[in-house]
Assembly symmetry: C2
Homo-oligomer: 228 residues x 2
Amino acid sequence: MPRVDSQRREPPGLSSASKVPIPTLERLTTYLRCLIDLGASGVETVSSAEIEHHTGINAAQFRKDLSYFGEFGKPGVGYNVAELEGRIARILQIHRVQPILLVGAGNLGSALLGYPGLKEHKFHIVAAFDNDPHKIGKKTWDIDVFDLRRIGEVNEVLGARIAILAVPAGAAQAVTEQLVEAGVRAILNFAPIILRVPRHVAVRNVSFLQELAVLSYHLTSDPLAADK
Amino acid sequence: MPRVDSQRREPPGLSSASKVPIPTLERLTTYLRCLIDLGASGVETVSSAEIEHHTGINAAQFRKDLSYFGEFGKPGVGYNVAELEGRIARILQIHRVQPILLVGAGNLGSALLGYPGLKEHKFHIVAAFDNDPHKIGKKTWDIDVFDLRRIGEVNEVLGARIAILAVPAGAAQAVTEQLVEAGVRAILNFAPIILRVPRHVAVRNVSFLQELAVLSYHLTSDPLAADK
């Protein structure tokens, strides 16, 4: 039985490979976003209290999150904004361009291709794949769409290790196997199924339905619900 | 300082209102998906071991998750598929149509409108809002796009309590305040900022960047990384 990322927190291969809690990694991106904004506004140093003010994340939590990665900041002075930004980017391996394969060039895949935040954070979708003959050989948002069957061959050239999976549920497992075969070791999965992957491959699942169902449950459990 | 959903697990107002752990609610949607598929294949009863086989979620975890909501199944017989499906749907309030507002009819918003899984699970996007004069007054995927400023007025008629926020970061907080004012109590947020909301409003954040950054970190921390 493969291990399963049923809680979004422990993708297969990820928790075992890393001593850093996943929520810490998730919060690092929030700190990074905040530091980029502060840097752009000309701020040079920042305290953990100011980080709390900007991100809503508790100052003690912020210091604890950083402590996994060594020494940061100076007592009484705070953190150098540019330096901390650079160190967090290196921790997350987004200080240099990270090539990504997109599988599924439908509505969602195309929307992701056009998502402006990705390139800002050095995530570059370098190729898209689909099985629709009307899409293959064309470009979407300036990215070539290849035949799904060519994942291995194309990635021999591109060497991407991350893939975004935006295909229907029925196709997801077979495509995953192709991706793993092609050297991909991290998959962002939008298909509403639980992927079976080898231990060295990490999966993060994004399920819109799951998110909406949790919110929907909230509507009944909320103590104010009866008033409205 | 508002409470913050920095870990995706405890949106403001949600953990306090509910004794059921969020991961349990997340897993319920996986069970539901599995039960729908089993029902469609003509399966009438299912054991917790079979649920584990199909979903990858441990049988004991499955039984514990259900235990939050009362008695289910019969010892030695298992669970009636149709009955369990109906009960989980009612728990998640998706046994009847749940109307949803979509704010932001850009690439991502349009992709969500076309996402086939939503309607299958009774989540109906009933209106879209945008500030682009080229979109206002037209239809996207057969849904009317209204002027952003009309959220309150339109929702007086529609009465939606859930909204999907797919606007740029800079607009997200102001739109959120409009939504709360219009009676929305649960927000699925795609904007890369932490929303400030009153305690009775639940937020779930979906951040593609955060997911990719966690995966990117995995590439370095993986013990096999050096071999490839």
